[in-house]
Symmetry: C2
Subunit: 251 residues, 2 copies
């Protein structure tokens, strides 16, 4: 049985998705829960690893098991009754044996939340960063547009990223405002390590300093991490969803 | 100078509002910040103490200081730059010397958030409890109405409550639905220890078991904590605001 799970997590107290000895991680919690149900820990494949402090509304994982008596709904119940409340399984589906949460993913969507207020409420800052200066989303989108398309994103990749090629496809990158909440939304084929946080940090710095939007293209073309700006803090970042059907990707 | 501050906090990691030696508390953080600014810790008066794990959007405090050179806006900036992000000062106002955040408060408003979903997202559970069974707010309100008015709330008070009289006035108590979020809203003169959480826990238990609404009145009239049901968990509770003007209290 090839089990696909969609899960959400509050990443505040986790050292990221990937299991690490002796540290609380999302995968570590899932492994502990599967150990209780299956008596063994299957290999977990995920659509996109998230870093320490990053959240997810729609992470997707899969694993193989010989246990084939349990129905999808019972997987949901059993796992959620064992997992801490900071990790919730929201969907379960049985897939063909060869299906992979990672390799069948066509695109991933992340949101970065910014509260555009000088003194925001404390509860809003749990899942957002904040900006005291006024954010004009029309103007922000002028910077964003240069990153849409297929490019080498070396400038927006952490030095430790192990990928052979830094070429990625961004399908959509824009910002939108709802009251004093500004959301950066990005959909891409896949992302390099820290890529969304470096893009967001760079965008805000260029905007705040009044640099012209074309500077974003120059940073991209330079293919050098030193050209981009700071990696923004993780707590505003949410892994929203995975696209397995190319036709569903917004263009 | 009599300084009034409105503050919000994410109570997750605090042992309640009141300062306690060696434990992280909201008042403890404010005292540390005031120590840095004033070189001393003034006595802090608050509109309503909150328990471990309870949040606030609009707690109000005041304190007296001989420092009279700092403007209101600078108090906001200075305190927010020192305080952890889980405590944010949202307003500052200078008041007449005799004004008290506690004794001049005419009413307090609390909200209890319930996600009405079997498998809610993890991020929503940071500031809410959840109910897997369907909540009908019209029906819930049939139970609520018996508690509105001036009553002896002994049945809905923690055993350790030190108040001489358990008589309190509830101006408003109802539930409302927005999508799958159900909010219990209560406005009262003041609240006994755990009163909102015992009311919410009792309401949900009576509703779930299909008990008739009049049972709420019987529990109230019994004036005995043993008649009411469990205290619901703290994380869904938010201290929303304080009313200092009687005319603003919704009736």
């Amino acid at each position: 049985m090839n089990v696909k799970l969609t899960l959400s997590y509050d990443g505040t107290d986790f050292y990221g998705f990937q299991a690490q000895d002796g540290l609380p991680t999302v995968a570590g919690e899932i492994e502990k829960a599967l150990q209780k149900i299956l008596g063994e820990v299957p290999e977990i494949v995920c659509a996109g690893r998230t870093d320490k402090g990053v959240h997810a509304d729609g992470q997707v994982i899969n694993f193989h098991t010989s246990l084939d008596k349990m129905k999808e709904y019972n997987w949901l119940r059993a796992l959620n009754s064992i997992l801490p409340r900071s990790v919730r399984i929201t969907h379960c589906e049985f897939m063909p044996e060869e299906w992979s949460a990672r390799f069948d993913a066509k695109a991933r969507e992340y949101h970065y939340f910014l509260v555009n207020q000088r003194f925001p409420d404390a509860r809003r800052m749990r899942f957002a960063s904040f900006c005291y200066y006024d954010l004009d989303v029309e103007q922000l989108n002028q910077y964003c547009k240069y990153l849409v398309g297929e490019h080498d994103f070396t400038s927006f990749s952490a030095a430790d990223d192990p990928s052979r090629t830094k070429i990625r496809q961004i399908y959509k990158l824009d910002t939108m405002r709802d009251g004093d909440l500004v959301t950066l939304r990005v959909i891409g084929s896949a992302f390099l390590h820290n890529m969304v946080r470096i893009i967001t940090g760079t965008l805000l710095t260029l905007y705040r300093k009044g640099e012209p939007p074309i500077r974003m293209k120059e940073i991209l073309d330079g293919q050098n991490r030193q050209l981009a700006r700071d990696t923004i803090e993780p707590n505003g970042l949410v892994f929203k969803r995975v696209y397995y059907d190319e036709k569903e990707i917004p263009q």
